[in-house]
């Protein structure tokens, strides 16, 4: 029936409720062409299993322990077809912004499930063009700033609450997130991460540096025309001329 069925498609089911997973498992049983590689009950497990087993298709709940569905998607990359399954209809718009194949509402209607699966099969093998990292800003709801940043390190996932973030340094295609003496690498541009942070707390002091204003202890001149910001933990960050103007603007605004 299916021309491309020579190779079975692989899928992973992610949902924190046993019974919700059972519904999807049952609906997939009819489809011999799809092999369920495994099931996960939380975001951490999902990221680990997806990295290790590289499925074609992912069924993803949104509200889950540890990492929510959007954070999982952010960490696993964009070459997997994702079908969201959730009781919450308010996330539908965001789901399509992150190029989800479909968005199923619980309780799941079998006909809708079949249609979603059909769309997924067409999508598989044609990765969506924009890298997921650029879609991060779309994942937040309008008017809200990120409250934490998730970073994948191999199969491990680190969660950095924004309050524990000291500064961010651009390194080629990556950013290094400095938090409590450690650095975490994430594939994202410094400009896209800047838009996700509250400008009241984070300031771009240099082309390659974004700093948490709370962490800045003092600013000293450094050579001709440039400055250096010294943080409470002793880190020294370069401050460009325009960065210094912005920094002064903020600091004077605070004192007046």
């Amino acid at each position: 029936m299916n021309v491309e069925a020579s190779r079975p498609l692989t899928a992973i089911i992610v949902d924190d409720e046993d019974l919700a997973r059972a519904v999807l498992r049952e609906l997939l049983e009819k489809h011999r062409e799809i092999e369920v590689l495994g099931e996960c009950a939380n975001g951490f497990e999902a990221v680990k299993m997806v990295s290790e087993r590289k499925p074609d298709l992912l069924f993803l709940d949104i509200q889950m322990p540890k990492l929510d569905g959007f954070e999982v998607l952010e960490l696993i990359g964009s070459d997997i077809a994702v079908i969201f399954a959730t009781a919450y209809d308010q996330h539908a718009l965001r789901a399509f912004e992150v190029h989800a194949v479909d968005y199923l509402l619980k309780p799941i209607v079998p006909e809708r499930f079949e249609a979603a699966l059909e769309r997924a099969k067409q999508r598989i093998g044609q990765p969506v063009s924009p890298p997921v990292t650029q879609l991060v800003s779309a994942m937040r709801e309008a008017g809200q700033f990120a409250e934490r940043i998730v970073v994948k390190d191999g199969a491990r996932v680190h969660i950095i609450p924004i309050g524990k973030l000291d500064y961010i340094e651009a390194q080629d295609d990556y950013v290094a997130l400095a938090s409590q003496g450690k650095k975490y690498l994430k594939q994202q541009t410094i400009s896209s991460i800047e838009t996700s942070l509250d400008p009241k707390n984070f300031l771009r002091i240099h082309r390659s540096y974004l700093v948490s204003l709370e962490r800045v202890a003092k600013v000293e001149p450094y050579g001709k025309d440039s400055h250096v910001a010294i943080l409470h933990d002793g880190s020294r960050l370069p401050v460009s001329r325009s960065g210094y103007a912005r920094l002064r603007g903020v600091l004077e605004g605070q004192s007046s």
Binding site: E17, A20, A41, A87, L105, P107, E147, R148
Partner: protein, 369 residues
């Protein structure tokens, strides 16, 4: 706005009240004064009409010297001085009128005949003005009472409104959809359990809907509702959910607003257990506290408070969800609307523990009639 001038019906009634006054004045002029009745009529009608409107000015002096806050000497001084001045003006007007009338043949000599009546006119002027003052004070207090009643009704409507809104917001659609999804899963796995869950869900919904119409219920009923709710959630979360309950047995008959405890438990599940992979716990505790001192032997009907506490653990690393805390805000608002300062609400997060504590006056349910 003047209470009499601003209202045609009242103005008519007021002028009607002047008819007997004018009649008395006419009688005094004709009989002891020995006036011709035509001359008396020609004097009394325009004079009374004039003075009727002059007396309306009493409203302004009444408003500037309210009965409740002004001293007696100030009241007496203000109104007496005004009465004397207005009455003097009235007498002067009467004098002007007699001079004007004297030019007509029919009233010849009136400018000599009337002046002996000036003291009578002056005295009645003062008295009539003081009557007008009394009338205006009555009108003012009537207006104030009506204003107060209106405000009180408005406040009551507002309170009722917010309560209804809060109740409507309580039934969480996500809870329903997730439960229905669980049932749809169970239908093919275990038909018996699916039916059981349908019954539990129906039971919970029936209880919730029934409570919307009541203003207070016994704590026993609320706990019943919480148990139905937890029975449904238990199917969803299975071993991930553990619940502890510790309720003082006398508290069961205390009156509480409906849907006070259930939203707290629902909140604990949404932000606690549902975010914890290894599962979480909820602890519900209801006890008494004496209002004056922390006395465990406080009388149930005396000055004692009911203390309702819901504790749960949560994952402090999870970001707060949008719309979180709406249930708690509703409960807090309803407590304030109903009890004012007599109830208190606190919600605190401490590491991985979240604790909501409510204190409200302990009132026994009235016996059913």
């Amino acid at each position: 706005m003047h209470p009499i001038l601003g209202n045609l019906r009242r103005l008519g009634l007021y002028l009607l009240a002047w008819v007997p006054l004018a009649a008395i004045l006419f009688y005094l002029l004709v009989l002891p004064g020995g006036f011709k009745w035509t001359s008396a009529l020609a004097m009394v009608v325009p004079l009374c009409l004039l003075y009727a409107f002059m007396c309306l000015s009493a409203w302004y002096s009444c408003r500037s010297t309210p009965l409740e806050t002004s001293s007696f000497s100030r009241l007496a001084l203000t109104h007496l001085v005004t009465a004397i001045i207005l009455s003097a003006i009235w007498v002067a007007q009467a004098r002007g009128l007699t001079i004007a009338l004297a030019s007509f043949a029919a009233f010849r000599g009136i400018d000599h005949e009337f002046p002996p009546n000036h003291p009578l006119l002056f005295a009645s002027g003062v008295l009539i003005y003081l009557l007008a003052v009394a009338l205006h004070y009555v009108l003012l207090s009537m207006e104030r009472t009506r204003e107060l009643e209106k405000r009180e009704i408005q406040a009551r409507v507002l309170a009722r409104d917010s309560e209804l809104k809060a109740l409507k917001a309580q039934i969480n659609p996500h809870f329903l959809f997730n439960s229905l999804n669980s049932i749809s899963a169970l239908t093919s796995i275990d038909g018996g359990r699916a039916r059981e869950m349908c019954i539990q869900l129906a039971d919970f919904l029936r209880k919730t809907l029934g409570m919307g119409e009541k203003t207070v219920i016994a704590l026993r009923e609320e706990l019943d509702l919480v148990h139905s709710f937890l029975a449904v959630e238990k199917v969803r979360f299975g071993a991930r959910m553990s619940v502890g309950e510790e309720v003082a047995s006398d508290a069961l008959d205390c009156a509480v607003p409906p849907l006070l405890l259930q939203p707290l438990v629902e909140n604990a599940i949404a932000h606690g257990i549902s975010n914890l992979t290894e599962g979480g716990w909820i602890n519900v505790k209801v006890s008494y506290a004496n209002v004056a001192a922390k006395d465990t032997h406080a009388e149930v009907n005396g000055n004692s408070n009911l203390v309702i506490q819901v504790d749960n653990n949560f994952d402090p690393e999870m970001p707060r969800r949008r719309g979180s805390g709406v249930g708690l805000v509703n409960v807090r608002q309803r407590l304030t609307t109903r009890y004012g300062d007599r109830a208190s609400f606190s919600a605190q997060a401490d590491n991985d523990r979240f604790c909501v504590s409510i204190t409200l006056p302990a009132e026994k349910m009235e016996a059913k009639k």
